[in-house]
Symmetry: C2
Subunit: 368 residues, 2 copies
């Protein structure tokens, strides 16, 4: 049951007008705005039908109408203009990324900042290691004469370290032996046998055993990808939006943002890389996000490191612009990584293919 053309055009106009002004839009305003001369009365009729279909809502009887979440969904899926990206914009984005992006650790922060700069919205960025990392080597470095060690893990793309504090003394020499054993176990892929054999030879009460346990936990955590890192930029910009002038609403959202874990969950369920995902209001599940939307996409950083970056704004956000900026962003990143990080990728995927994919625009996620 497709919506007839005129209804679609009217709905589109309403959504866009509301996005722009944040005021309920009335039949007269709309009639003026239209190229094809349709009278306000006709629009009124169409509007009341659109309301019955669930696309419009009335805040009260004598105000105009505002789009429902379903309307936003329809707008994003079918109505809005794609490919709005000004090419100048893309170039600017690429330059910004190039300037800011030096190390992998910073991609996340740069992504948020650049995108925030361009959209003037709150942005969120995450790096997750899909499928986890392969740990290649492990070093234990004595820090204070036997009570504290730094465990350093080398993966194929990164190095992580963690302080280990022990309750018993472990001689550096003993630690060195453990290091060798660990690296042997790593290269042979038999990490799981290390602990039992250790407990047999040293007893579970020894400092080495304690140490090995902690290190193995650390390795396992790294292998599983660890917790993804999350960065949020421009949270304060939320307050620029009319809908968050009411402090209570704003507080809820800001509170939500401070719980990185929950924000991470939001970004988890994205579709294929380089597709734009749009989650509108209630689709985000969480009650404090009920009148906000999230537009996000992911991009490949290296073989198994994925970056995700998104824009959080009120449901009445400019979806077309957000999508365009995100597409421009992924292209810019592809350009930069293509130059600066080529060596990190051994995947055969060519840049051309990736750009094509991203041009497809938003995926049609099931609005539920």
């Amino acid at each position: 049951m497709e919506l007839p053309e005129r209804k679609r055009r009217i709905l589109k106009a309403i959504v866009e007008n509301y996005i722009e002004t944040a005021e309920p839009v009335g039949s007269k305003t709309l009639a003026d705005r239209f190229e094809a001369p349709i009278s306000s009365a006709t629009i009124r009729n169409e509007m009341s039908e659109l309301e019955e279909l669930g696309y419009l809502e009335k805040p009260h009887v004598s105000a105009g109408r505002i789009p429902s979440y379903a309307a936003y969904r329809l707008y994003v899926n079918e109505l809005m203009d794609r490919h709005r990206i000004a090419t100048g914009e893309l170039e600017a984005m690429r330059l910004m990324m190039q300037a800011k992006m030096r190390e992998i650790d910073n991609i996340m922060v740069s992504a948020s900042k650049v995108l925030g700069e361009m959209t003037r919205h709150t942005t969120v960025s995450m790096i997750s290691h899909t499928g986890g990392k392969t740990v290649r080597r492990c070093e234990l470095i004595d820090v204070d004469g036997g009570y504290s060690y730094a465990a350093v893990l080398v993966t194929e793309s990164d190095v992580k370290n963690k302080m280990i504090r022990l309750s018993r003394l472990v001689e550096p020499a003993t630690a060195a032996v453990l290091t060798t054993a660990l690296n042997l176990a790593i290269s042979e892929g038999r990490l799981e046998y290390l602990l039992p054999s250790l407990s047999q030879s040293m007893g579970e009460d020894s400092g080495v055993y304690e140490m090995a346990m902690t290190v193995l936990d650390f390795i396992r955590e790294t292998q599983q990808g660890g917790k993804p890192e999350i960065y949020i930029d421009g949270a304060a910009r939320l307050l620029d939006n009319r809908e968050y002038q009411d402090t209570q609403r704003a507080r809820e959202l800001l509170e939500y943002f401070s719980d990185r874990g929950r924000v991470g969950e939001l970004l988890e369920g994205g579709e294929a890389p380089n597709l734009i995902n749009v989650r509108i209001g209630p689709e985000l599940q969480d009650p404090s996000m009920r009148d906000a939307s999230l537009v996000f996409t992911s991009y490949q950083i290296d073989q198994n490191t994925r970056g995700i970056v998104g824009i959080i704004a009120p449901a009445r956000m400019d979806y077309a612009d957000a999508c365009a900026k995100l597409i421009a962003f992924t292209q810019a990143v592809a350009g930069v990584t293509g130059q600066g990080m080529k060596r990190l990728k051994d995947t055969g995927e060519s840049d051309e293919r990736r750009n094509q994919e991203s041009d497809r625009g938003p995926g049609r996620s099931p609005g539920r």
Copy 2:
């Protein structure tokens, strides 16, 4: 020119009433609140004199009065009750810290969270390495066959690592030689001679030279203490305060918080460790903080790592409570580090002395 006793008592009452209610306080209210029966008329006279002295302000003619910044300053320096800490509170704080504080990296976050939990305000936490760290060892670990290395620095209390990406290939064997040279230079304290000698033997155009330069920068950065890490917790709680119901004000402050660097500067100019510093409104210099106050203190984590933790709230905050909580906090941390991190300190300072110091309460910073 000391303020006479009665004026002091009246001013104290006004400040406390205002802290509690956030409403301008009038003569009648105050008269009722007083044990010693003074008539509202007398209070009115005293009030108008206090106003002339610059301690009180009138929002408008027929409202009560509110304390000026000078009044807060006087309150903090001379008027308020010290040592309000409930011993139960201290114990609770210690338990919370003990539970949350596992690794040094987390002290910062734990400090903010625990303190935020207890005060229900925004808290800020910073770790800075006073005088920098002594780098003891350096390792260069090959990551992708010669184009990327992980530089790992071991200091006396910590391990840091950083990815180094090179534009030219450097053989792992060559890197190993560089590592040896670096460690030799480190142990002999002649780092500054390494680069010139390298440029002579390899030429400035070699990959090794590029690598050495980057590593030396990293070492220097670490030695100088690097950038302090900063964590802010509960920024959203700002919005709970009456004075930030006005979104514009709130936005300014939140924006300010998102610039870590500026927040760091605030915390830099603190007095001796374990003294409570109070910066009221305009004393903070920055216009966006004009009606906020910052109460903070520092605590020793190890020989040359200092933690700073503070509470940010509207100028009308409960200073006595904030100070008490901060004192309790430093004591709790001393307790925890005393148990769990004793080995990290080789300083002769005893815990007793430190606690005494902290009991002195807020230092009299020059209100300017």
